[in-house]
Amino acid sequence: MHIMEGFLPWQWCIVWWLVAVPFIVLGIIELRSMMRKDREYLPLLGVCGAFIFILSALKLPSVTGSSSHPTGTGLSTICFGVFITSVIGAIVLLFQALLLAHGGISTLGANMVSMAIGGPLAGYAIYRLLKNTSVNIYITVFTVTAVADLITYVITSFQLALAYPAQIGGVMTSFAAFFAIFAVTQIPLAIVEGCVLALVFKYIVQIKPEIIEKLNVFSHEQIAKARMTEGSVASSEVRS
């Protein structure tokens, strides 16, 4: 769910565009240096971008009965970092606006700040915090995804509250009202998305662990440990 075209006053559209632009510029610089090092990255990033677009267009089962869309940025944050994710996120958001009529051009800045910058930044912080600890890699993936998703909606509510502060209580009351509406679908969604992406990681570890090693997402030992635990679980299932 993005802020749609025309919902924000023009002053706020400019402010959020100005906030988003430095991240996109840094992302482009990082992308260029990454491609100079290894030109194989462009097709891989392109295909991953398409994957994120499809993921964000898929309907996930939601506890509240309504179906919601995942943001898909958690996986990209873990794999490529914040700045590259912000570029991919910006392109995905533009395509969503032009191909699916979700979001818009004037609100693209605000949507970039929430979905392509804020969420990934929070997710990346959690990932760095948990990466070198003994925490299971699936729990790390779950936490990163769920936090990135939740922060995206916290920022969206904040953007709406800043643009339309309440008459009594100001920005904070407005923020509480908008977030309460989002929370009904977004908190269950964040948990479901976290579970789904943790399971996605399980399949990657089982079938193609070299992707995770190539991108240096987790160390070889951590992946080996995760594979070993799964191996023992699988063999105990066979025995029982």
Binding site: G6, G46, F51, P61, G104, F178, I181, L197, L199, F201
Partner: protein, 264 residues
Amino acid sequence: MLENLVDNIAQESAFRHINPATKLILCLGSLVICLVSPSPVVPLISGVVLSIVLIVPARVSPVLYGELLLGPAIFTIISVVVLVFLVGGGDVLWQFNPVPWVNLTITVGSLHEGLLVLCRVFGCSVSLFFIALTTPMTDLFDGMKRIGIPIEIIDLMMIIYRYIFIVYNQAVEIWHAQVMRLGYSRPMEAIRSSAMLCGMLFISSWNAGEDLIHAMDCRCYNGIIPSLEQAEPMQMRSLIPVLLYLAGLSGILLVVITRVVVLS
């Protein structure tokens, strides 16, 4: 989802052959005018006029167009209702205190603000639909190159755009296979199936990316994907009506702004 992809409609639009820059001028021009308007009148006029243009001369199916408008409409109406209760100003029209600490009030100012946002979303969304429903993405890539967007970004966008359809077809095939095997019958089963779908999609996308590199290498890929521009040159026949329309809309905006200034 992608069944009613806007791009498919754009491919068949009667305005497809018009130079993309002309259409972009109309889209961005009316978008900016609708956005800065302090009155709901300007976006309402712009939205209605562009909708008629899209349905009649551009031959966009009215049913599909209606469905497209309905998407943002639901979110907008919920948000506008919240907005009407939150913001204030002016005389109180309606007040409701279900419990002592909750005070729901609608004022003249909040109603005006709600109406303005509703019309602005309508006007701006129709401006966006105008470019989306008449110009396929491939034409927009040429335009982006001309305005100086880095070539790496455009190449990345082209790859993403191409692979959206390939990944999507794969996702639909897996999804059908899962549904046939009752993969979404229970909530836990649905989560497991969704994860399996996404996991397999990611791995097969990655493999497709690796195959793409090899295919591009065979065609002497050196970091840039060259492409031919197919757009028609800008024609006065289409540019003059666009400029006249934007001038008219700006005129109405000026009248509205002077009236607002005089009244205040």
